[in-house]
Assembly symmetry: C2
Homo-oligomer: 439 residues x 2
């Protein structure tokens, strides 16, 4: 028998914990040359605006235009893309968009307030951001589904102006991406990319409006630029390689599980696919399915490298141990291909998205189930959430003290402020102690 494609681990092994840590380890490499280049690009855009932007478009994207206004793709061109694409694909995009919209409506948060007995009103006013920028990569990693997943939550939140940027090397437009932008309700589109696009969105130029938040994936230049504008503009998380953790009870067709592992692995050689099962014989069957099905995959080389480099089949003692490992791994995607999967939900503390049951492969969530496919990677589900409407809303605290309420609160504030030696705070509070306190 040939050497196995995927590493096999057993949770009972003495060194299992060390092996698991090694398997999960992922350090994004930062590159000083990239950091330096990006700093220069950002400084140039800040100082010279459109002029610098046009230079970078020419240098990096072979896009030679003289008037910055030509960087914008008009809405009429987006609508034309809807007619240019395959109509079955258009319909699928429209169905997916509607489902994503319906799901995300449930995430909208509303302002709230309450009135205390003394008439004081407390609450929180919740509002959309004014203007959001969406980065869409050019070239091979351009996914129309990603346009839907990033744009729709912003529009459901009520963001009035959603600006998409995407590089168009050599001026070539991607019809599917433009069509997805039209369906998602993107307001304006500019053909810019790279660190210069991030800088233009963060600081604004004569042509590109400054935004309040930038979302969307990008290459190392885009990720580095996002890090450098941190604090100046809101940002989504910076994603690591995509991963799936499948937990199977050994009763799902092994071909299905093999293909679910492939669907993660085909993204990227660094993607991670892990299967947990309490039945070692079933792991053999999945391995056999993998060997048999792999050759037919158009991306078999990427899948092979991903599975052999970062994948694993793990033999666990029982479901209780599987749950423990789920919480330790905090996977981006968790597939529970088991009987009555709902029973395990109360015990699962950390996962970006949970796919329950044998009929819920991750691929459905990637495209059209409704929930977002932008999810926390590399164990960050311990503290992060899927991209959502809440990422495009923000809150203002509301405090409206009645004269009587102010009296009660001012006494407490005065004691605490004097305890912290902040006397102006104390006096400011004390002035409100009586309505006759006016001097």
């Amino acid at each position: 028998m040939a050497e196995a494609l995927m590493r096999r681990l057993n949770s009972g092994a003495a060194d299992f914990s060390v092996q698991l840590d090694a398997l999960l380890a992922w350090d994004s490499v930062s590159n000083p040359a990239v950091v330096q280049t990006v700093s220069e690009v950002i400084a140039a855009i800040k100082q010279r605006g459109d002029a610098a932007l046009l230079e970078y478009c020419a240098a990096f994207d072979r896009l030679n235009i003289n008037v910055a206004a030509e960087l914008e793709i008009p809405q009429s061109r987006l609508l034309a893309a809807l007619d240019n694409i395959d109509q079955a694909q258009r319909q699928a995009l429209e169905v997916a968009a509607q489902r994503v919209r319906d799901y995300h409506q449930h995430q909208r948060q509303e302002s709230w307030s309450y009135t205390e007995a003394d008439g004081t009103v407390l609450g929180q006013q919740i509002r959309p951001m004014d203007r959001v920028g969406l980065y869409v990569p050019g070239g091979k990693a351009t996914y129309p589904s990603s346009v839907l997943m990033n744009a729709i939550p912003a529009k459901v939140a009520g963001v009035p102006e959603l600006i998409m940027v995407s590089p168009t090397p050599g001026g070539e437009l991607n019809e599917m991406v433009l069509a997805a932008a039209a369906i998602a309700g993107v307001d304006r589109v500019f053909t810019i990319g790279g660190a210069q696009a991030v800088a233009a969105l963060a600081f604004g130029t004569e042509t590109i409006p400054r935004v309040d938040k930038i979302v969307g994936p990008g290459n190392i230049y885009v990720a580095t630029a996002k890090q450098q504008v941190f604090g100046r503009v809101g940002l989504d998380m910076i994603a690591g390689p995509s991963e799936i953790l499948v937990v199977c009870d050994g009763l799902t067709d092994p071909d299905w599980i093999a293909m679910d592992l492939f669907s993660q692995a085909e993204h990227d050689e660094d993607a991670q696919s892990i299967l947990l099962c309490p039945d070692a014989a079933y792991l053999d069957r999945v391995e056999a399915s993998i060997e048999r099905l792999l050759a037919d995959m158009p991306r078999s080389e990427i899948i092979r490298k991903s599975l052999s480099g970062r994948g694993a089949l793990i033999d666990v003692a029982d479901m209780a141990e599987a749950i423990e490992l789920i919480n330790r791994i905090a996977p981006e995607h968790l597939e529970l291909s088991v009987e009555e999967p709902e029973q395990y939900l109360p015990q699962i503390r950390h996962a970006g998205a949970i796919f329950l049951g044998r009929h819920t492969p991750e691929a459905l969530g990637d495209y059209c189930a409704g929930p977002n496919h932008v999810l926390p990677t590399s164990g960050t589900a311990r503290f992060s959430s899927p991209l959502g409407v809440y990422d495009f809303q923000k809150r203002s605290s509301l405090i409206n003290c009645s004269p009587a309420g102010a009296q009660n609160l001012a006494q407490v504030a005065s004691v605490l402020a004097r305890g912290e030696s902040l006397v102006a705070h104390a006096v400011s509070a004390e002035y409100r102690l009586g309505v006759d306190a006016k001097s």
Copy 2:
């Protein structure tokens, strides 16, 4: 007449917009030497854990202990602090804590789900983080109110383990801070600080447990360390200097407004206090109050530097223009010292906290009104929110497809996946097209 303490601007001036930009400009200075030192500290903690931690405690905090376990302050010592402090202060802390708790209860978010006609279930499971770290500065900037404001939302979210760290130079404990920790329900306290404390919380040592998120203010070493562990652990925002924007209709006692401006300015020479009013004569009256009241303030020198360096009295045309400026400035604290302040709420898009009416000075919100005093600074209210319970909860998407639902979704996913040349995604979906699709 002596030169005025605060600069006076008029919104009708030709160069007003440029002047306003200059007034608001704030760039946090990054210091390469600090970045280098912090990198070394983090690397040492990662590699040598407790041993390195004890060395830094000795070097930076004159804290010479040999056993890392002695870094922990036992719960019994926290409870003792409750008896050691002034009992009026204890009572004020307890009242404040209860009000903060009551308010933040309104922010708790609950899991939700819905079932579609074909039996497919979609939703989101909302959970607290497992373990959170709270940084509390040592020395002069140690505020017990800050312990309450950072700790209580985490406990309301249901975080089971809240770890506080605070440096104790020379081993000196701050009774008020320990008492606030006891009242807020902090689970464990360690006497560590600086970049080494951030590193210990982010990576864990033999003694300090690794946390999922770190919150709380700190000096430049702490802020730099937080930037360097970004992505590895959740973080709150990195705060700039505190600011207040007061809008007054000219009918509030000018002493009250002067003192409200002082209460912001006394925090820090870099703090910013701005007053907008459509009545120029009222601005003169506030200026006179400032001149008269300033000398009596224990922190008059800090207030003077803050008001003269970063403060402004701005004469605006009318309330409509004031609202425009509010949204442009996006202040951390907004005080609407006007008649019927509620009428303006629908127009206010950006502010960390809004204090409505003449009886609601910011000082009440700083201590005990209920809302959080950790707020977005430097215009980041455009895209950020007050610290809240939502900062300690996270979400997992839930997708449970019925066999019938999977059929509908698989057709859409298959079309889109093939459009993106992700064939394994397509096949994984297609396997679920019929329950008899098993091979």
